[in-house]
């Protein structure tokens, strides 16, 4: 599946998008744990999980949301438009 990062998550990770295999990942929380294990850049991005929001296929979801069938998962801070 495609994983997207916005705002300071994008800056800390150093990528705006990447492909991640969903194999063995059941929920968003599983994906976050998988990403954090990749190294310090991901660890820094997800160090305060309560400050990170997630969208699955462009709909805001909770961290326990299932990934089954998901094509796109995006991580970002709380929205600050307007």
């Amino acid at each position: 599946m495609k994983v997207l990062y916005f705002a300071w998550l994008r800056e800390r990770i150093g990528e705006s998008a990447e492909e991640v295999s969903a194999e063995g990942l059941e929920t968003v929380a599983d994906l976050v744990a998988h990403l954090r294990a990749r190294g310090p850049r991901y660890e820094a991005a997800f160090e305060a999980p309560e400050a990170v929001r997630v969208a699955v296929d462009q709909k805001v979801r909770d961290w326990d949301a299932p990934l089954k069938g998901a094509g796109e998962v995006a991580f970002f801070p709380p929205m600050t438009g307007g």
Binding site: F6, A55, A74, P77, P78, T80, G81, G82
Partner: protein, 145 residues
């Protein structure tokens, strides 16, 4: 009904006038980059989700108030103090619906549309933090069902 995300500026007068036909009241809100210690602001968004979220917010407003028209325009990219960031407009037969719908569009946009602001200041650049007051402003509409 119109929802647009764009780099370029917009013509507030033309956008307002376009909503006048069939309306008794048009209420608009314009957001502008504040000066002070901020020398520039960059707006990032989530292409695709942004447009869908704005369309959903507008559709929700139409279920709550009898609107003859509504417009949401939000700019992205780097903007300088004094530049317009975004606008919402709501048109209805009477002013109360137009005022309320415009406020609803703003409150929902601030907390449910995927935009992020980064400010440049003399001390460096910083991402703007979400404000709890914005979230509580949006929640009061949910309480009204």
């Amino acid at each position: 009904m119109a929802v647009r995300v764009q780099r370029e500026d917009f013509d507030l007068g033309a956008e307002t006038a376009a909503l006048e036909a069939g309306a008794g009241a048009v209420v608009t809100f314009t957001g502008i980059v504040r000066g002070g210690d901020v020398s520039a602001m960059t707006l990032e968004h989530y292409p695709g989700m942004t447009e869908a979220a704005l369309a959903e917010i507008e559709a929700e407003a139409r279920t709550r108030w009898p609107l003859s028209g509504a417009t949401i325009i939000h700019r992205v990219g780097r903007l300088l103090p004094g530049e317009r960031i975004m606008m919402v407009a709501a048109a209805s037969a009477h002013r109360q619906a137009a005022f309320e719908a415009a406020e609803f569009l703003m409150d929902y946009l601030k907390t449910r549309a995927p935009f992020w602001k980064k400010e440049e200041t003399g001390a460096g650049a910083r991402w703007v933090d979400a404000r709890e007051t914005d979230e509580s402003a949006a929640r009061r509409w949910a309480a009204k069902g």
